[in-house]
Amino acid sequence: MLQIENLHAGYGKVEVLHGISVAVPKGKVVTLIGSNGAGKTTTMRAISGMIKPVSGNISLNGKNITGMTSSRIARSGLAHSPEGRRVFATLSVTDNLLLGAFPRLTYGRERGDVQGDLERVFELFPRLRERKSQLAGTLSGGEQQMLAMGRALMLNPDVLLLDEPSMGLAPLLVSEVFRIVSELKGRGITMLLVEQFAAAALNVADYGYVLENGRISCHGPADQLKNDPAVKAAYLGAAH
Protein backbone atom coordinates (compact mmCIF):
# COMPACT_ATOMS: atom_id res chain seq x y z
CA MET A 1 0.00 0.00 0.00
CA LEU A 2 2.56 2.58 1.19
CA GLN A 3 6.19 1.92 0.26
CA ILE A 4 9.11 4.08 1.34
CA GLU A 5 12.49 3.22 -0.10
CA ASN A 6 15.84 4.72 0.85
CA LEU A 7 14.30 8.04 1.87
CA HIS A 8 16.64 10.96 2.53
CA ALA A 9 15.05 14.14 3.84
CA GLY A 10 15.69 17.08 6.11
CA TYR A 11 15.36 20.81 6.55
CA GLY A 12 17.48 23.09 4.40
CA LYS A 13 21.01 21.72 4.43
CA VAL A 14 20.48 19.59 7.50
CA GLU A 15 19.70 16.01 6.58
CA VAL A 16 17.62 14.25 9.22
CA LEU A 17 16.76 10.99 7.49
CA HIS A 18 19.68 9.06 6.04
CA GLY A 19 17.99 6.51 3.82
CA ILE A 20 15.10 4.78 5.52
CA SER A 21 12.82 2.13 4.07
CA VAL A 22 9.40 1.37 5.51
CA ALA A 23 6.53 -0.69 4.15
CA VAL A 24 2.92 -0.32 5.27
CA PRO A 25 0.84 -3.19 3.85
CA LYS A 26 -2.89 -2.83 3.21
CA GLY A 27 -5.06 -3.23 6.29
CA LYS A 28 -2.11 -3.27 8.66
CA VAL A 29 -1.00 -0.94 11.40
CA VAL A 30 2.70 -0.15 11.32
CA THR A 31 4.36 1.86 14.04
CA LEU A 32 7.49 3.93 13.99
CA ILE A 33 9.12 4.29 17.38
CA GLY A 34 12.23 6.10 18.47
CA SER A 35 13.46 8.77 20.82
CA ASN A 36 13.03 12.51 20.41
CA GLY A 37 14.85 13.82 17.39
CA ALA A 38 15.23 10.41 15.76
CA GLY A 39 13.32 11.65 12.69
CA LYS A 40 9.84 10.20 13.22
CA THR A 41 7.95 13.40 12.46
CA THR A 42 10.32 14.21 9.60
CA THR A 43 9.46 10.84 8.07
CA MET A 44 5.76 11.62 8.31
CA ARG A 45 6.25 15.07 6.82
CA ALA A 46 8.28 13.73 3.93
CA ILE A 47 5.63 11.11 3.17
CA SER A 48 2.74 13.57 3.10
CA GLY A 49 4.65 16.19 1.12
CA MET A 50 4.96 18.81 3.88
CA ILE A 51 8.68 18.74 3.14
CA LYS A 52 10.33 17.68 -0.12
CA PRO A 53 12.43 14.52 0.14
CA VAL A 54 16.04 14.92 -1.03
CA SER A 55 16.09 11.48 -2.59
CA GLY A 56 14.44 8.12 -2.34
CA ASN A 57 11.13 6.77 -3.43
CA ILE A 58 7.67 6.90 -1.91
CA SER A 59 4.76 5.13 -3.54
CA LEU A 60 1.13 4.90 -2.60
CA ASN A 61 -0.96 2.15 -4.18
CA GLY A 62 1.87 1.57 -6.63
CA LYS A 63 1.76 5.21 -7.71
CA ASN A 64 4.91 7.27 -7.25
CA ILE A 65 4.14 10.25 -5.01
CA THR A 66 7.73 11.34 -4.26
CA GLY A 67 8.12 15.11 -4.38
CA MET A 68 4.45 15.82 -5.02
CA THR A 69 2.81 18.72 -3.18
CA SER A 70 0.93 17.82 -0.02
CA SER A 71 -2.39 18.70 -1.63
CA ARG A 72 -1.82 16.26 -4.51
CA ILE A 73 -0.74 13.54 -2.12
CA ALA A 74 -3.88 14.07 -0.04
CA ARG A 75 -5.96 13.81 -3.19
CA SER A 76 -4.19 10.53 -3.96
CA GLY A 77 -5.66 9.13 -0.75
CA LEU A 78 -3.16 9.74 2.02
CA ALA A 79 -4.41 11.48 5.17
CA HIS A 80 -1.98 12.91 7.70
CA SER A 81 -3.03 13.86 11.21
CA PRO A 82 -0.01 16.03 11.99
CA GLU A 83 2.00 16.49 15.13
CA GLY A 84 0.54 19.31 17.20
CA ARG A 85 -2.97 18.64 15.79
CA ARG A 86 -3.00 21.74 13.57
CA VAL A 87 -6.78 22.16 13.58
CA PHE A 88 -8.22 25.27 11.92
CA ALA A 89 -8.74 27.42 14.99
CA THR A 90 -11.04 29.96 13.37
CA LEU A 91 -13.42 27.39 11.87
CA SER A 92 -16.11 25.33 13.57
CA VAL A 93 -15.66 21.65 14.39
CA THR A 94 -18.02 20.65 11.57
CA ASP A 95 -16.19 22.87 9.07
CA ASN A 96 -12.86 21.35 10.12
CA LEU A 97 -14.28 17.89 9.48
CA LEU A 98 -15.77 18.88 6.12
CA LEU A 99 -12.41 20.27 5.04
CA GLY A 100 -10.95 16.84 5.74
CA ALA A 101 -13.24 15.67 2.95
CA PHE A 102 -12.21 18.54 0.65
CA PRO A 103 -10.94 16.31 -2.19
CA ARG A 104 -14.18 14.32 -2.00
CA LEU A 105 -16.32 17.47 -2.09
CA THR A 106 -14.37 18.99 -4.96
CA TYR A 107 -12.25 16.74 -7.14
CA GLY A 108 -9.62 14.04 -6.98
CA ARG A 109 -11.47 11.57 -4.85
CA GLU A 110 -14.71 9.67 -5.06
CA ARG A 111 -17.39 11.60 -3.21
CA GLY A 112 -19.19 8.70 -1.51
CA ASP A 113 -21.36 9.47 1.48
CA VAL A 114 -19.74 12.51 3.10
CA GLN A 115 -22.70 13.22 5.40
CA GLY A 116 -22.75 9.58 6.49
CA ASP A 117 -19.03 9.67 7.22
CA LEU A 118 -19.53 12.84 9.24
CA GLU A 119 -22.11 10.95 11.31
CA ARG A 120 -19.68 8.07 11.77
CA VAL A 121 -16.93 10.42 12.97
CA PHE A 122 -19.40 11.91 15.45
CA GLU A 123 -20.23 8.38 16.64
CA LEU A 124 -16.55 7.63 17.10
CA PHE A 125 -15.95 10.93 18.91
CA PRO A 126 -19.18 11.89 20.72
CA ARG A 127 -17.48 14.93 22.23
CA LEU A 128 -17.08 16.41 18.77
CA ARG A 129 -20.82 16.14 18.15
CA GLU A 130 -21.48 18.03 21.38
CA ARG A 131 -19.18 20.78 20.20
CA LYS A 132 -19.84 20.71 16.49
CA SER A 133 -20.61 24.43 16.14
CA GLN A 134 -17.83 25.55 18.45
CA LEU A 135 -14.66 27.08 17.01
CA ALA A 136 -11.87 24.51 16.95
CA GLY A 137 -9.48 26.93 18.67
CA THR A 138 -11.62 26.84 21.81
CA LEU A 139 -11.47 23.04 22.20
CA SER A 140 -9.30 21.38 24.83
CA GLY A 141 -6.13 19.58 23.77
CA GLY A 142 -7.78 16.17 23.88
CA GLU A 143 -10.75 17.38 21.86
CA GLN A 144 -8.45 18.96 19.31
CA GLN A 145 -6.66 15.63 18.94
CA MET A 146 -10.00 13.90 18.34
CA LEU A 147 -10.79 16.56 15.77
CA ALA A 148 -7.45 16.14 14.00
CA MET A 149 -8.01 12.39 13.78
CA GLY A 150 -11.62 12.77 12.71
CA ARG A 151 -10.63 15.31 10.08
CA ALA A 152 -8.04 12.90 8.64
CA LEU A 153 -10.63 10.11 8.58
CA MET A 154 -13.00 12.30 6.57
CA LEU A 155 -10.77 11.83 3.53
CA ASN A 156 -11.76 8.17 3.58
CA PRO A 157 -8.03 7.57 3.20
CA ASP A 158 -6.20 4.60 1.75
CA VAL A 159 -3.46 5.21 4.30
CA LEU A 160 -3.74 7.20 7.51
CA LEU A 161 -0.67 8.75 9.12
CA LEU A 162 -1.05 9.48 12.83
CA ASP A 163 1.76 11.56 14.27
CA GLU A 164 1.97 11.49 18.07
CA PRO A 165 -1.77 11.34 18.71
CA SER A 166 -1.19 11.03 22.45
CA MET A 167 1.21 13.95 22.78
CA GLY A 168 0.48 16.24 25.70
CA LEU A 169 -2.66 14.41 26.76
CA ALA A 170 -3.71 13.31 30.24
CA PRO A 171 -3.21 9.57 30.91
CA LEU A 172 -6.92 8.84 30.66
CA LEU A 173 -7.06 10.48 27.23
CA VAL A 174 -3.95 8.64 26.09
CA SER A 175 -5.66 5.30 26.62
CA GLU A 176 -8.75 6.70 24.89
CA VAL A 177 -6.59 7.57 21.86
CA PHE A 178 -5.17 4.05 21.74
CA ARG A 179 -8.67 2.58 22.11
CA ILE A 180 -9.70 4.56 19.03
CA VAL A 181 -6.61 3.48 17.09
CA SER A 182 -7.47 -0.19 17.71
CA GLU A 183 -11.10 0.53 16.80
CA LEU A 184 -9.89 1.97 13.48
CA LYS A 185 -7.64 -1.03 13.01
CA GLY A 186 -10.68 -3.24 13.48
CA ARG A 187 -12.33 -1.36 10.61
CA GLY A 188 -9.42 -2.33 8.38
CA ILE A 189 -7.86 1.12 8.05
CA THR A 190 -4.21 1.06 6.97
CA MET A 191 -2.17 3.14 9.39
CA LEU A 192 1.32 4.38 10.03
CA LEU A 193 1.53 5.39 13.68
CA VAL A 194 4.28 7.46 15.27
CA GLU A 195 4.33 7.33 19.03
CA GLN A 196 6.44 8.05 22.05
CA PHE A 197 4.49 5.51 24.08
CA ALA A 198 6.34 2.69 22.37
CA ALA A 199 4.81 -0.13 24.41
CA ALA A 200 1.24 0.94 23.74
CA ALA A 201 2.06 1.50 20.07
CA LEU A 202 3.56 -1.97 19.73
CA ASN A 203 0.49 -3.44 21.43
CA VAL A 204 -1.85 -2.08 18.78
CA ALA A 205 0.48 -2.42 15.76
CA ASP A 206 1.15 -5.41 13.54
CA TYR A 207 4.65 -4.41 12.65
CA GLY A 208 7.19 -1.98 14.01
CA TYR A 209 10.25 -0.01 12.95
CA VAL A 210 12.76 1.49 15.35
CA LEU A 211 14.22 4.77 14.17
CA GLU A 212 17.56 5.88 15.56
CA ASN A 213 19.36 9.04 14.41
CA GLY A 214 17.64 9.00 11.03
CA ARG A 215 18.23 5.31 10.32
CA ILE A 216 16.13 2.22 10.89
CA SER A 217 18.04 0.30 13.54
CA CYS A 218 15.72 -2.69 13.61
CA HIS A 219 12.28 -3.79 12.53
CA GLY A 220 10.03 -6.77 12.84
CA PRO A 221 6.58 -7.97 13.85
CA ALA A 222 5.31 -5.98 16.82
CA ASP A 223 5.21 -8.99 19.15
CA GLN A 224 8.80 -9.77 18.38
CA LEU A 225 9.98 -6.18 18.93
CA LYS A 226 8.16 -6.05 22.25
CA ASN A 227 10.30 -8.90 23.51
CA ASP A 228 13.55 -7.79 21.94
CA PRO A 229 15.94 -7.07 24.83
CA ALA A 230 17.60 -4.10 23.10
CA VAL A 231 14.27 -2.47 22.21
CA LYS A 232 12.98 -3.17 25.70
CA ALA A 233 15.95 -1.52 27.32
CA ALA A 234 15.98 1.53 25.07
CA TYR A 235 12.30 2.28 24.46
CA LEU A 236 9.99 0.25 26.63
CA GLY A 237 11.62 1.06 29.94
CA ALA A 238 11.05 -0.46 33.33
CA ALA A 239 7.64 1.20 33.76
CA HIS A 240 6.09 -1.00 31.09
Binding site: G49, T69, L98, L139
Partner: protein, 290 residues
Protein backbone atom coordinates in the same frame (compact mmCIF):
# COMPACT_ATOMS: atom_id res chain seq x y z
CA UNK B 1 -26.88 70.21 13.04
CA UNK B 2 -28.03 69.96 9.47
CA UNK B 3 -24.57 70.76 8.27
CA UNK B 4 -23.06 68.07 10.48
CA UNK B 5 -25.57 65.51 9.17
CA UNK B 6 -24.69 66.57 5.64
CA UNK B 7 -20.98 66.13 6.34
CA UNK B 8 -21.57 62.71 7.85
CA UNK B 9 -23.53 61.59 4.82
CA UNK B 10 -20.79 62.76 2.46
CA UNK B 11 -18.20 61.09 4.65
CA UNK B 12 -20.03 57.78 4.48
CA UNK B 13 -19.64 57.40 0.71
CA UNK B 14 -15.95 58.23 0.90
CA UNK B 15 -15.51 55.94 3.90
CA UNK B 16 -17.12 53.02 2.12
CA UNK B 17 -14.55 53.33 -0.65
CA UNK B 18 -11.72 53.32 1.89
CA UNK B 19 -13.36 50.33 3.52
CA UNK B 20 -13.65 48.48 0.22
CA UNK B 21 -9.98 48.98 -0.67
CA UNK B 22 -8.97 48.04 2.88
CA UNK B 23 -11.06 44.91 2.53
CA UNK B 24 -8.88 44.06 -0.46
CA UNK B 25 -5.76 44.39 1.71
CA UNK B 26 -7.29 41.97 4.20
CA UNK B 27 -8.05 39.35 1.55
CA UNK B 28 -4.44 38.77 0.55
CA UNK B 29 -3.07 39.29 4.04
CA UNK B 30 -5.32 36.53 5.35
CA UNK B 31 -4.16 33.87 2.90
CA UNK B 32 -0.50 34.73 2.40
CA UNK B 33 0.55 37.29 5.01
CA UNK B 34 1.34 39.65 2.15
CA UNK B 35 -0.28 42.87 0.96
CA UNK B 36 -0.57 44.37 -2.47
CA UNK B 37 0.76 47.88 -1.99
CA UNK B 38 -0.54 48.58 -5.47
CA UNK B 39 -4.17 48.39 -4.35
CA UNK B 40 -4.58 52.08 -5.16
CA UNK B 41 -3.19 51.48 -8.64
CA UNK B 42 -5.52 48.52 -9.11
CA UNK B 43 -8.35 50.93 -8.33
CA UNK B 44 -6.95 53.51 -10.74
CA UNK B 45 -6.56 50.99 -13.58
CA UNK B 46 -10.09 49.75 -12.95
CA UNK B 47 -11.43 53.28 -13.16
CA UNK B 48 -9.49 54.16 -16.33
CA UNK B 49 -10.32 50.90 -18.11
CA UNK B 50 -13.92 51.54 -17.10
CA UNK B 51 -13.68 55.05 -18.52
CA UNK B 52 -12.50 53.73 -21.88
CA UNK B 53 -15.19 51.07 -21.89
CA UNK B 54 -18.09 53.44 -21.11
CA UNK B 55 -17.31 55.11 -24.42
CA UNK B 56 -18.60 51.96 -26.08
CA UNK B 57 -21.23 50.60 -23.72
CA UNK B 58 -23.41 51.40 -20.72
CA UNK B 59 -21.97 51.81 -17.23
CA UNK B 60 -23.76 48.70 -16.00
CA UNK B 61 -22.43 46.51 -18.78
CA UNK B 62 -18.94 47.86 -18.14
CA UNK B 63 -18.87 46.80 -14.47
CA UNK B 64 -18.58 43.03 -15.04
CA UNK B 65 -15.82 43.61 -17.61
CA UNK B 66 -13.88 45.82 -15.20
CA UNK B 67 -14.30 43.16 -12.51
CA UNK B 68 -12.80 40.56 -14.85
CA UNK B 69 -9.99 42.96 -15.73
CA UNK B 70 -9.31 43.59 -12.03
CA UNK B 71 -9.13 39.86 -11.31
CA UNK B 72 -6.63 39.33 -14.15
CA UNK B 73 -4.56 42.29 -12.99
CA UNK B 74 -4.46 40.77 -9.49
CA UNK B 75 -3.34 37.41 -10.85
CA UNK B 76 -0.59 39.21 -12.79
CA UNK B 77 0.64 40.99 -9.63
CA UNK B 78 0.66 37.75 -7.66
CA UNK B 79 2.44 35.72 -10.33
CA UNK B 80 5.03 38.34 -11.23
CA UNK B 81 5.57 40.11 -7.93
CA UNK B 82 4.51 38.05 -4.97
CA UNK B 83 4.93 34.40 -5.92
CA UNK B 84 8.68 34.64 -6.61
CA UNK B 85 9.18 36.35 -3.23
CA UNK B 86 7.12 33.72 -1.43
CA UNK B 87 8.98 30.92 -3.23
CA UNK B 88 12.38 32.14 -2.20
CA UNK B 89 10.98 32.74 1.30
CA UNK B 90 12.05 36.36 1.00
CA UNK B 91 10.40 37.94 3.98
CA UNK B 92 10.00 41.45 2.63
CA UNK B 93 10.59 41.03 -1.11
CA UNK B 94 6.89 41.32 -1.83
CA UNK B 95 6.81 44.82 -0.36
CA UNK B 96 9.26 46.12 -2.95
CA UNK B 97 7.79 44.14 -5.84
CA UNK B 98 4.23 45.27 -5.23
CA UNK B 99 5.36 48.88 -4.83
CA UNK B 100 7.47 48.63 -8.02
CA UNK B 101 4.58 47.16 -9.96
CA UNK B 102 2.38 49.97 -8.65
CA UNK B 103 4.80 52.57 -10.01
CA UNK B 104 4.96 50.76 -13.35
CA UNK B 105 1.16 50.66 -13.57
CA UNK B 106 0.99 54.37 -12.83
CA UNK B 107 3.52 55.16 -15.57
CA UNK B 108 1.74 52.95 -18.06
CA UNK B 109 -1.53 54.65 -17.21
CA UNK B 110 0.03 58.09 -17.66
CA UNK B 111 1.22 57.07 -21.10
CA UNK B 112 -2.10 55.64 -22.19
CA UNK B 113 -4.57 58.06 -20.61
CA UNK B 114 -2.38 61.12 -20.17
CA UNK B 115 -1.45 63.22 -17.15
CA UNK B 116 -4.68 65.14 -16.81
CA UNK B 117 -7.61 64.15 -14.68
CA UNK B 118 -10.68 63.29 -16.70
CA UNK B 119 -14.33 63.43 -15.63
CA UNK B 120 -16.11 60.14 -15.55
CA UNK B 121 -19.66 60.34 -16.91
CA UNK B 122 -22.14 59.61 -14.15
CA UNK B 123 -24.55 56.75 -14.86
CA UNK B 124 -27.08 58.21 -12.43
CA UNK B 125 -28.68 61.68 -12.32
CA UNK B 126 -26.24 64.20 -10.87
CA UNK B 127 -28.93 66.22 -9.15
CA UNK B 128 -28.90 65.51 -5.42
CA UNK B 129 -31.88 63.97 -3.67
CA UNK B 130 -33.25 65.65 -0.55
CA UNK B 131 -33.84 63.71 2.65
CA UNK B 132 -34.92 65.90 5.60
CA UNK B 133 -32.90 68.72 4.17
CA UNK B 134 -29.82 66.60 3.63
CA UNK B 135 -28.63 66.33 0.06
CA UNK B 136 -27.50 62.95 -1.16
CA UNK B 137 -26.15 62.23 -4.60
CA UNK B 138 -27.67 59.11 -6.19
CA UNK B 139 -24.11 58.03 -6.96
CA UNK B 140 -23.25 58.14 -3.25
CA UNK B 141 -26.06 55.69 -2.55
CA UNK B 142 -24.74 53.43 -5.30
CA UNK B 143 -21.26 53.53 -3.73
CA UNK B 144 -22.58 52.42 -0.35
CA UNK B 145 -24.86 49.72 -1.78
CA UNK B 146 -22.21 48.43 -4.20
CA UNK B 147 -19.45 48.28 -1.59
CA UNK B 148 -21.63 46.50 0.95
CA UNK B 149 -22.89 44.08 -1.70
CA UNK B 150 -19.43 42.94 -2.75
CA UNK B 151 -18.16 42.60 0.83
CA UNK B 152 -21.23 40.57 1.79
CA UNK B 153 -20.85 38.39 -1.29
CA UNK B 154 -17.25 37.55 -0.37
CA UNK B 155 -18.12 36.90 3.28
CA UNK B 156 -21.00 34.66 2.26
CA UNK B 157 -18.73 32.73 -0.08
CA UNK B 158 -16.17 32.24 2.69
CA UNK B 159 -18.70 31.06 5.21
CA UNK B 160 -20.97 28.89 3.12
CA UNK B 161 -19.08 27.27 0.26
CA UNK B 162 -16.46 24.58 0.68
CA UNK B 163 -14.08 26.63 -1.49
CA UNK B 164 -14.55 29.61 0.81
CA UNK B 165 -13.84 27.42 3.81
CA UNK B 166 -10.68 26.30 2.03
CA UNK B 167 -9.69 29.98 1.84
CA UNK B 168 -10.30 30.41 5.58
CA UNK B 169 -8.39 27.20 6.30
CA UNK B 170 -5.45 28.48 4.28
CA UNK B 171 -5.43 31.68 6.34
CA UNK B 172 -5.63 29.70 9.56
CA UNK B 173 -2.85 27.17 8.87
CA UNK B 174 -1.36 26.95 5.41
CA UNK B 175 0.53 23.67 5.90
CA UNK B 176 -2.46 21.93 7.44
CA UNK B 177 -4.65 23.23 4.61
CA UNK B 178 -2.27 21.57 2.17
CA UNK B 179 -2.75 18.29 4.02
CA UNK B 180 -6.49 18.59 3.38
CA UNK B 181 -5.80 18.48 -0.36
CA UNK B 182 -6.25 22.24 -0.72
CA UNK B 183 -3.99 23.78 -3.35
CA UNK B 184 -2.89 26.67 -1.16
CA UNK B 185 -0.86 28.33 -3.92
CA UNK B 186 -4.04 28.57 -5.94
CA UNK B 187 -5.91 29.98 -2.95
CA UNK B 188 -3.33 32.77 -2.65
CA UNK B 189 -3.55 33.59 -6.37
CA UNK B 190 -7.32 33.61 -6.03
CA UNK B 191 -7.14 36.01 -3.08
CA UNK B 192 -5.04 38.42 -5.16
CA UNK B 193 -7.57 38.19 -7.98
CA UNK B 194 -10.38 38.92 -5.55
CA UNK B 195 -8.45 41.73 -3.91
CA UNK B 196 -7.68 43.59 -7.15
CA UNK B 197 -11.19 42.89 -8.34
CA UNK B 198 -12.69 44.73 -5.36
CA UNK B 199 -10.25 47.59 -5.92
CA UNK B 200 -11.16 47.88 -9.62
CA UNK B 201 -14.82 47.79 -8.65
CA UNK B 202 -14.19 50.51 -6.06
CA UNK B 203 -12.54 52.50 -8.85
CA UNK B 204 -15.58 52.56 -11.10
CA UNK B 205 -17.82 53.28 -8.11
CA UNK B 206 -15.86 56.31 -6.97
CA UNK B 207 -14.85 57.62 -10.41
CA UNK B 208 -18.13 59.42 -11.20
CA UNK B 209 -17.84 61.27 -7.85
CA UNK B 210 -14.24 62.33 -8.26
CA UNK B 211 -11.98 62.75 -11.23
CA UNK B 212 -10.25 59.90 -13.00
CA UNK B 213 -6.53 59.92 -13.65
CA UNK B 214 -3.29 58.03 -13.31
CA UNK B 215 -2.54 59.47 -9.88
CA UNK B 216 -5.98 58.98 -8.32
CA UNK B 217 -4.98 55.73 -6.63
CA UNK B 218 -1.94 56.88 -4.68
CA UNK B 219 -3.70 58.71 -1.85
CA UNK B 220 -6.70 56.38 -1.80
CA UNK B 221 -4.47 53.32 -1.51
CA UNK B 222 -2.49 54.87 1.32
CA UNK B 223 -5.54 55.98 3.28
CA UNK B 224 -7.18 52.61 2.82
CA UNK B 225 -4.03 51.07 4.21
CA UNK B 226 -4.39 53.09 7.38
CA UNK B 227 -8.05 52.05 7.49
CA UNK B 228 -6.96 48.42 7.28
CA UNK B 229 -4.61 49.01 10.21
CA UNK B 230 -7.23 50.93 12.20
CA UNK B 231 -9.95 48.38 11.57
CA UNK B 232 -7.65 45.39 11.93
CA UNK B 233 -6.05 43.42 9.12
CA UNK B 234 -7.91 40.28 10.14
CA UNK B 235 -11.24 41.67 11.24
CA UNK B 236 -13.63 41.35 8.28
CA UNK B 237 -16.21 44.00 9.02
CA UNK B 238 -13.81 46.19 11.01
CA UNK B 239 -12.64 47.83 7.79
CA UNK B 240 -16.11 49.19 7.08
CA UNK B 241 -16.24 50.87 10.48
CA UNK B 242 -12.64 52.02 10.10
CA UNK B 243 -13.43 53.40 6.65
CA UNK B 244 -16.50 55.25 7.87
CA UNK B 245 -14.61 56.76 10.80
CA UNK B 246 -11.88 58.03 8.50
CA UNK B 247 -14.32 59.26 5.84
CA UNK B 248 -16.46 61.18 8.32
CA UNK B 249 -13.43 62.54 10.18
CA UNK B 250 -12.16 63.93 6.87
CA UNK B 251 -15.32 65.69 5.79
CA UNK B 252 -16.01 67.17 9.23
CA UNK B 253 -12.44 68.34 9.78
CA UNK B 254 -12.41 69.76 6.28
CA UNK B 255 -15.45 71.87 7.09
CA UNK B 256 -14.96 72.85 10.74
CA UNK B 257 -11.21 73.31 10.81
CA UNK B 258 -9.65 73.52 7.39
CA UNK B 259 -9.46 71.32 4.35
CA UNK B 260 -5.69 71.55 4.77
CA UNK B 261 -6.01 69.55 7.97
CA UNK B 262 -8.56 67.01 6.76
CA UNK B 263 -6.10 64.11 6.74
CA UNK B 264 -4.87 64.76 10.27
CA UNK B 265 -7.59 63.09 12.41
CA UNK B 266 -7.30 59.87 10.48
CA UNK B 267 -3.55 59.77 10.89
CA UNK B 268 -3.83 60.65 14.58
CA UNK B 269 -6.28 57.81 14.97
CA UNK B 270 -3.82 55.53 13.20
CA UNK B 271 -1.06 56.49 15.64
CA UNK B 272 -3.43 56.01 18.56
CA UNK B 273 -4.57 52.56 17.42
CA UNK B 274 -1.01 51.45 16.75
CA UNK B 275 0.10 52.43 20.23
CA UNK B 276 -2.94 51.14 22.14
CA UNK B 277 -4.27 48.17 20.20
CA UNK B 278 -1.85 47.19 17.41
CA UNK B 279 -4.12 44.39 16.15
CA UNK B 280 -6.60 47.10 15.14
CA UNK B 281 -9.79 48.31 16.80
CA UNK B 282 -11.61 45.17 15.77
CA UNK B 283 -8.63 42.90 15.27
CA UNK B 284 -9.11 39.55 16.89
CA UNK B 285 -6.44 37.68 18.69
CA UNK B 286 -7.41 34.07 18.14
CA UNK B 287 -8.10 32.12 21.28
CA UNK B 288 -5.85 29.10 21.17
CA UNK B 289 -5.85 26.48 23.87
CA UNK B 290 -2.87 24.20 24.09
Amino acid sequence: MEILAQLVVSGIALGMIYGLIAFGYQLTFATSGTLNFGQGEALMLGALVGLTLVGHMSYWLMIPLVIVFGALQGIFVERVGVLPALKTKSEFGWIMTTISLAIIFKNVAENIWGHDDITFPSPLPTAPLQFFGIRVLPMEILVVVGALAIILAVELFNRKSIYGKAVVATSSDRDAAGLMGINTGMVITFSYALSSMTAAFAGVLIAPLTLTGATMGVVLGLKAFSVAIIGGLNSGMGVIVGGLILGIAETTTGYYISTGYKDVPGLLLLLLVLSIKPAGMFGKSVIKKV
